[in-house]
């Protein structure tokens, strides 16, 4: 399933400078693996060593926070957009 991923500016250097990538993945978990395969270093910015989602990064499938869906097992449909939104505090 072709799914779009929106990469926040802090992580774009790890994604070849891209703001948006398109990948094949059926779940959020497999999406993160696919991201890591093509852009090494991204996974550890999203997941703790234990595999849990980092608490300063939010992942949304379309408009919904995956914590209120099925977490990393949230299924993805073709055309879905997964947004990575890290905590920022500039002012």
């Amino acid at each position: 399933m072709a799914v779009h991923v929106e990469i926040p500016s802090q992580l774009r250097p790890l994604a070849g400078g891209q703001a948006r990538v398109t990948l094949e993945a059926r779940t959020v978990a497999s999406l993160i693996e696919a991201l890591e395969a093509s852009h090494p270093g991204l996974k550890e910015r999203l997941l703790e060593p234990s595999g849990e989602l980092r608490r300063f990064v939010r992942l949304f499938v379309n408009e919904e926070d995956i914590r209120f869906l099925q977490g990393r097992e949230t299924p993805l449909a073709p055309g879905d957009t997964v947004a990575i939104v890290p905590a920022i505090a500039g002012g």
Binding site: E6, P8, S9, Q10, A19, P40, G41, E44, R45, P49, R54, R55, F56, V57, R58, F60, E63, E64, D65, R67, F68, A83, V85, P86, A87, I88, A89, G90, G91
Partner: protein
């Protein structure tokens, strides 16, 4: 022979009059009450809950204000004469349950019953805010609300500057500025509340001068301090809404926790390089900041604007969105960003909106909160990058 005396006698014979005591009882029964005096009389005091249509506009305006013609309706004026004529007209318009209050406001006051004196605008204010007065969602009542409101700006820098300027322009009556910093020339690329002449001055002093010059109606309170667990509750206490324009996680979590513990709404904003975020955290109505981000980004991954750089116009956009949300909260109008996270990419000119929910497991606003008092965040969580491929 035709005369005023004859006319009023005839009219009073055709309508129902009630004494003030019965009027008061009718109000307790949820009757509608209509004041038909002139605007200057209304401004000096009216019956609480009354609707206002001057007698000269009665036929044209009353049906829009009182569409239910069978609802119990009382009409009053200063002494009971104009209201008698108004009651006659209302009967002609098809209202079936109308009574005029005998003796009007005069008798109401004599009986010691309460009056409401509306906050009215001066001639200068009517001019200054005329463009607000013309907007139906604001009007004189809304502008009066703004003039009575108090907004606290945490940070008088990138986000605080546009927010402060526009909230002052809008006539928010009291604006508090919290900042412990001093104006530096490098701030002037984006912190538009400050000027060349204020370099070296405390940001609160500089900002206050700018806001007072823009709008003398505004009382600016300068809080030249760094917020900590020991002072934050006292600082935020008098304010209706908090605008979070601070520039570090420690203050964000401190303000969030203080706001949740005291039930105050925070308009959240943050920026990084060319991206911004905004939301509204209203205790009881939606999530708090900790629901969204239970932990801060480690310092190495979250450089400040001074370290990472920032597109100067970016805080202008986000700060304005925050000011807009603050005004909507104060006016009680529109749909706010409660439960919604707005993200903005200035390079793409794209806005995204995400649904954010209260987390039942949230440490401060969840079902079993573990944070019940304030503490200063010791921000020492450290990010250890693993070697690629490990």
């Amino acid at each position: 022979m035709a005369s005023f005396k004859e006319l009023i006698r005839q009219v009073k014979a055709q309508i129902r009059e009630v004494p003030v005591a019965e009027a008061q009882a009718a109000l307790a029964r949820d009757a509608a009450i209509l004041d038909v005096r002139e605007a200057d009389e209304w401004a000096q005091g009216h019956v609480p809950g009354a609707l206002f249509v001057p007698r000269g506009f009665l036929e044209q305006r009353v049906e829009e204000k009182l569409p239910d013609k069978s609802r119990e309706l009382l009409v009053y004026c200063a002494g009971g004469t104009r209201s008698a004529f108004a009651a006659r007209t209302l009967l002609d318009l098809g209202y079936t349950n109308v009574a005029s209050v005998a003796g009007g406001i005069g008798k109401w006051k004599e009986a010691g019953l309460p009056l409401v004196v509306p906050r009215t605008l001066s001639a200068e204010q009517t001019q200054r805010y005329s463009r607000h007065l013309l907007v139906p969602e604001i009007g004189e009542a809304g502008q009066a609300k703004l003039l009575q409101s108090k907004v606290l700006l945490i940070g008088a820098g990138g986000l605080g500057s546009p927010a402060g300027l526009y909230l002052a322009a809008a006539g928010v009556g009291t604006i508090g500025l919290v900042d412990s910093d001093v104006v530096d020339v490098s701030n002037l690329q984006r912190q538009v509340m400050h000027t060349n002449a204020s370099v070296g001055k405390p940001k609160t002093t500089s900002g206050a001068a700018t806001l007072r010059a823009l709008n003398p109606d505004v009382t600016v309170v300068e809080h030249a301090l760094r917020l900590e667990a020991g002072n934050v509750l006292d600082v935020i206490a008098p304010y209706d809404v908090i605008v979070d324009g601070c520039d570090n996680f420690a203050t964000k979590y401190l303000v969030n926790d203080a706001a949740v513990l005291t039930g105050k709404t925070v308009v959240y904003g943050s920026i990084f390089r060319f991206e911004g975020q905004a939301s509204v955290f209203a205790p009881g109505a939606g999530p708090c900041y900790r629901c969204l981000f239970p932990e801060p980004t480690p310092s190495e991954l979250a450089p400040s604007c001074d370290e990472a750089g920032v597109l100067g116009v970016l805080p202008g956009s986000i700060g304005l969105i925050q000011a807009t949300e603050a005004l909507k909260l104060l006016l009680g109008r529109g749909r706010t960003l409660v439960g919604r996270l707005l993200t903005y990419d200035a390079l793409e000119t794209s806005f995204r909106e995400f649904r954010v929910r209260r987390d039942p497991g949230c440490a401060v606003c969840g079902d079993r909160p573990t944070i019940r008092e304030l503490s200063d965040l010791e921000w020492s969580c450290h990010f250890e990058p693993r070697p690629v491929g490990a």
